[in-house]
Symmetry: C2
Subunit: 367 residues, 2 copies
Amino acid sequence: MISPELVKEALKKKKVRSEEAFGLEYLRFNDDYKDIPRGTAIFKDFIIWGYPHIGRIFLLETGLREQFEAPFWVEEKVDGYNTRIFKYGDNYYALSRGGFICPFTTDRLPDLIDLRILDENPDLVICAEVAGPENPYIEESPPYVKEDVQLFVFDFMKKNEQGFLSQEEKMELIEKYNLPHVEILGRFTASEEGIKKIKEILKRFNEEGREGVVFKEDSERNKRAKYITSYANLMDIKTNAKNMLQLPPEYYTNRILRLVLFMYEEGLKTTEHLYEELGRAFIDGLFQAIEQFEKEHKVYKTFTCKFRKKENAIALLELLSKTSKHIQVKERRLEKEGDYWRLEFDKVFLNMTGLLGHLLSGGIVYD
Amino acid sequence: MISPELVKEALKKKKVRSEEAFGLEYLRFNDDYKDIPRGTAIFKDFIIWGYPHIGRIFLLETGLREQFEAPFWVEEKVDGYNTRIFKYGDNYYALSRGGFICPFTTDRLPDLIDLRILDENPDLVICAEVAGPENPYIEESPPYVKEDVQLFVFDFMKKNEQGFLSQEEKMELIEKYNLPHVEILGRFTASEEGIKKIKEILKRFNEEGREGVVFKEDSERNKRAKYITSYANLMDIKTNAKNMLQLPPEYYTNRILRLVLFMYEEGLKTTEHLYEELGRAFIDGLFQAIEQFEKEHKVYKTFTCKFRKKENAIALLELLSKTSKHIQVKERRLEKEGDYWRLEFDKVFLNMTGLLGHLLSGGIVYD
């Protein structure tokens, strides 16, 4: 549990904020604080712990040998956003990674997953990725989700508890309730044979445009690590070009280092196509931003997603406006479409819009 | 002049530091403060003003049209380091951009420039670039300086005064005293004809591996702007890879934007080779760092330069140690070579050394 003294301390340091959504009042850790991860939410009756950070290895072979002392499960890392689903009273809610009750995910839960599991196990918290082209948060999506969004379970937690159910318990629950889940590729070791197989999986994932994998040690300590494909590293660079001025300094250096260490591990001969692909990732994204500015005098991206209830679409726009720094959220349309409400909105990147406006009109920059 | 109150204020805010070098005590502005540029140095008898920032245009055509209302001179921007040379008592000194008395430049002045001009005009301050492969500060150097360093005058200031002598006065002094100077390419206007000629110059500079040009308006206000070639932008990315973790966030975004706006202005067809070149700039620099680490367990660059006096070589190492953050300065050798003292030293990049050591041994990173 979390002591009241610690909460008071965190409140004073603005690491905890008081939130209200869907009629629930709760406290949200908006930053890691001591051993409490960001996104931890304290409700009246229980705590939902934040989903912990998973460290990344940059070299597959050396990394797996160094990090794992027992066999580990390999699961797909789906390119979407993280959510934690729980039941409170008679209702189901979905928390975002940061600990907001997400109006989109919460609204769409009945479409995404059969929640009888929570009726029969009200103490469970489902950890899942929501991914697809029609989500309000990220532009990237896995190649096999062609429309709307889908949900992929990858872990279970319990209310008031840190840590996860074991892989065996998880797989049993997934099977029993027939839950949609991330692809589980098997149980491997960091042997030569194991690493060869994992490299083959990642080669295939890279070609298919999938993000990467998570390794989960089959042991008491349940150690975890992730590894991302070059495809995903390059897509990150490209799709975030419009938001380039807002990214932390390590955003690019980190991805470039991942790419170079991949080339180093695989050898330059088989990876030299990445020279041009890296240049393209940077340049194409920015070029699109310039062309968009020339036509429309602003740099933005359009998102679309559908809701069961209109009020949840409005709540989502409010939440995005509140949480987006230097980004203006602008509704385009919100209209009934069959049984759903179709929302379309723009995220206008104010810094890039301002800088391109200045530069394209011949402005001068002191740097 | 600068009022004593303002100096007191700046001292309190740590924008001014007290320095001692070559037996001189003085105050140095280590940051811009109000209208006083970084590098301004207050000596007992006079002030040497800092060399002001020159803004950059990203689009040549629109930029020149927007920024200049009168004809302007075009001068080469030499890829070296900025220095201000002045006489104090019977001696000559060279200040770095940041306002340190540079032990290297000061030591080598007799080799670099005939300073009779300062004997006959003791109020003058010579603003110049020192460039070449054997300098202690930067790895890049212009293609036409094959060894050691050379000095290129580009402006004159006066003691106690902000602002520069006019282009005419400058050219007269350069001629009268036969001073080495940056190439002056002529006086142009932002007409179609003028811009065409300037683009030809920059195309040639780019092919020759030169950094760029500075525009100086031939008018009372003496407005200035600079423009950098793609070659130099790419070299900046490549040569700074080892120091990547220390660079400010805008270092890369800025250079990539410059490149993309160049491609935008010139058209993709003639510039598509830049896709691969940009990728190469990032990847090759980092690859070299990895290979160096694998061999020598550290990431570093070796610099060499020669001095007239041994004590100045030692003073330079001390200055570099004092002013380099997260960089360890390590002497390799300091030996008499003919009439000179040959100094060789390493700059060890501690952050990159630490990170690569962690990653190459399979370490995990939380990001």
